[in-house]
Symmetry: C2
Subunit: 377 residues, 2 copies
Amino acid sequence: MRILADAQALEAAGRDVIHLEVGEPDFPTPQPIVDAGIAALADHRTYYTGACGLPQLRAAIAGFYASRFGVRVDPRRIIVTPGASGALQLILALLVGRDDEVLLADPGYPCNRHLVRLFEGKAVNVPVGADTRYQLLAAHLGAHWSDRTVAALVASPANPTGTVLEAAELAALAGACRERGGALIVDEIYQGLVYDRPHETALSSADDVFIVNSFSKFFQMTGWRLGWLVAPDWAVDDLEKLAQNLFLAPPTPAQHAALAAFEPATLAILEARRQELDARRNYLSARLTQLGFVQAATTEGAFYLWVDAARFTDDAAAFAAQLLADEAVAVTPGLDFGDAPTMLRFAYSQPIARLEQACDRLAHFCKQDLQNGVFRP
Amino acid sequence: MRILADAQALEAAGRDVIHLEVGEPDFPTPQPIVDAGIAALADHRTYYTGACGLPQLRAAIAGFYASRFGVRVDPRRIIVTPGASGALQLILALLVGRDDEVLLADPGYPCNRHLVRLFEGKAVNVPVGADTRYQLLAAHLGAHWSDRTVAALVASPANPTGTVLEAAELAALAGACRERGGALIVDEIYQGLVYDRPHETALSSADDVFIVNSFSKFFQMTGWRLGWLVAPDWAVDDLEKLAQNLFLAPPTPAQHAALAAFEPATLAILEARRQELDARRNYLSARLTQLGFVQAATTEGAFYLWVDAARFTDDAAAFAAQLLADEAVAVTPGLDFGDAPTMLRFAYSQPIARLEQACDRLAHFCKQDLQNGVFRP
Ligand SMILES: Cc1ncc(COP(=O)(O)O)c(C=O)c1O
Ligand SMILES: Cc1ncc(COP(=O)(O)O)c(C=O)c1O
């Protein structure tokens, strides 16, 4: 967050900043979605919808699960939300009561900890490392699950690490949570953005999990603020009431636009962009390794590389701040995601030419740094 | 809520339902705003904005306070939110800790009670009646403020009563909260929709209040999900962090569209619509009085009439359900807003011809009802 603000300030001062810190690729929303949004506005679709979203969008999302993953979901179990942010908020509002505990992987998406605390619950950080590809697994539960624990929250592909949970791991996690009388929440916001393997959904491994998803990342609709959740049937009525109180409804023009998200023309654009992201990933990964940054786990999804800068520094936050100031390259320090003082997150959200420029600047910075020893005094 | 679902079911079954239950006028968003939204989409303004919204929109809102009310507000103190819903949530998330109390007028907008409880606070309902035009005033605080009270929340114009707080009453309330070390939150979502008097803002009466507002009602942008809050300077940084965790950002196309909300062409459309609402108010108010419904306080704003149906029933919820079933006229029972078993809320959100039809059906229903005595057995 500080890096983002500093990067914007530098930019305002006229510097050419390369943004590898933001969780948003440079692609605009695919044209068929934009066109559907424009048509909806021209057609005056500007009124409130129901709290759970347009029935036809809920049906379209159910159709997507059927056609893409061969999974049947009753559209009633799909609730359209203001982004995955809204979905996470709704699910945590439902599950977390006073002093209830939620297990979260550390490192992980930082907002979740704050949401749990906002509802007066306790976010329990479970340290995860390269040995489990930075994923929280069933094997972790024993040491961290207490009689106040109500849920475990995982993400696949994950932010900041880009790693993916296997179907068997998801089934084991869901079973382990179920056995303990708790819920499993799986954040699939980066679904579709995986590179060396087929897309999956945790719904293929278990039907009683809470799924978080979004039109932000794979569908490249970040600014529209639209996502969804899939809930077990027993939770739907309560989630609807919560949605009513928290949001009233998700944005209407965005919902109409999103109806075009599942069309073949859109999916073709998205597949081309996925391949472009894959090429960027391979480029950046190779260059960073060459420079001496260590990737302890293979990044299979999302658009992030999670690298160890221990060769250069024991304070990656200071390293990132200096890199920004000296070379106008913005990356996110690991401390933003948990207890990871030497780690950095690089988002390959820019074209390869731009990544190349960033790596050249980084090479210059690291060489200088090693010479004058700023980060290993 | 039940009425809304039942009304939709009736409609789906082919009945011609007259909707006087929804908090949304029949007007579409004014064309200049729609056009600005379309232009923004065509221009690919589909990325995340900062958590507090576009700087130019925050500046435009500040400009609106200056030009319309002669009030100076630093744009930094204005945070753009996903509707007034988002603004209420942010402010309550900031102010309400475990077991903290918030004073709310009963009757009042029901979501607020739920939000306070979600943050593990206690919503203290303060019964208000016709003697204070259903408004919570400084005089009420003595009896309800405890050492756990952190804020009082009022609305002007109010939902469901449409009544307005006077500048002097707002100043007294703000002073009384300040003295007790608490905050005053003023929901001004119906600002601009007042009929026999000039528009006002509580910021003219006190600078240290939390203001909630929205593009939903006066600007007729309900489905876009865009609102704002004005906070005291000390609260801004914490609110920004909360906004980041809860929403990430407000919807981008809506923000660009809203830049056209303050243009003279838009304001002219809105003024004509305000006059139309005034005419509807006068028509419906006269007809309901004629029919025997009692308006205990003059409705000066919003688009609601709050009437006592005691002449017909001591169970206005049953009355409303029967009115919907028999005559396909949907109105909201008072119990949805608090301890008001004989009250009804009529929204004059339909054209006069339609209100006339509704009143004719209502007249038929009441005559029948008085004859067969369904509601006074
Ligand atoms: C893991 C994860 N979950 C949820 C979100 C929220 O995204 P949105 O609200 O735009 O859908 C993000 C955004 O970066 C994320 O990385
Ligand atoms: C008093 C009041 N506050 C807040 C809201 C929330 O409106 P929105 O989130 O659309 O701005 C409403 C909606 O009816 C309302 O009546």
